[in-house]
């Protein structure tokens, strides 16, 4: 299994541009999450999904959108990039099987908005 994969690894955007961060998992997990991590900080939840077709807002959803058309994919969309969205973005997935909420993380996408 590849686990959780994210693309791209790095991206530089100009203010006002849009982009989609891709996330795919091959573990058949129902739960998927998007986090952002600012320098020297912990992870903040942007959006999450409990299954295909179901998404919900996390702690910091403004400026982002998500969709979950399949179990495997959970793309994150930035419509009008702003400097405040400069961060490292992590996608994660979990199954919540056996009462464990071990979330498996991808390698991250480092985004800079200039």
């Amino acid at each position: 299994n590849a686990g959780v994969t994210q693309t791209p690894k790095f991206r530089i955007l100009k203010i006002g541009q849009s982009m989609t961060l891709q996330c795919t998992q091959d573990m058949n997990h129902n739960y998927m999450y998007w986090y952002r991590q600012d320098p020297g900080m912990g992870l903040k939840l942007i959006y999450y999904s409990v299954g295909a077709g179901i998404t919900d807002k996390g702690e910091v959803p403004n400026g982002y959108n998500v969709s979950r058309s399949t179990t495997e994919d959970f793309p994150l969309r930035l419509e009008l990039a702003a400097p405040s969205q400069t961060s490292v973005y992590f996608c994660a997935s979990s199954s919540l099987a056996g009462g464990s909420n071990e979330q498996f993380f991808g390698p991250g996408t480092r985004l800079t908005v200039l």
């Binding site: 739960y31 992870l43 409990v50 993380f105």
Partner: protein, 113 residues
């Protein structure tokens, strides 16, 4: 504000010594706690977890202790090695939150050879 935080932002230990990383949480409704390790440039990696009906759980070289009375969580690493150098995050899961984790800011562990 954040309900999960760490007492020490940085910790420096000698190789071979034991490390203790502390974490405070404020939400008494949290029923599951987890420790992650994050190496530079990588995503967080699961270390160990514990449910609120337990006080202690041991893994390979790691032990997590949970004190619900004072809402405190700690991660103990035995015989710390240079490969343990990383940022360590604790996270909590509130009961009924559909698996959402709340992460603390992290503690950077540096191991001196």
């Amino acid at each position: 504000g954040e309900s999960v935080g760490l007492h020490l932002p940085t910790l420096s230990v000698q190789e071979g010594d034991n490390s203790i990383i502390n974490c405070a949480y404020s939400n008494s409704a949290s029923d599951y706690f987890i420790w992650y390790k994050q190496e530079s440039g990588k995503g967080p990696q699961f270390i160990i977890d514990i449910r609120s009906n337990m006080d202690k759980r041991q893994g390979q070289r790691v032990t997590v202790l949970l004190n619900k009375t004072v809402k405190h969580l700690s991660l103990q690493i035995a015989a710390t090695q240079p490969g343990d150098s990383a940022v360590y995050f604790c996270a909590e899961n509130m009961r009924g939150s559909q698996g959402n984790l709340i992460f603390g800011k992290g503690t950077k562990l540096s191991v001196k050879p």
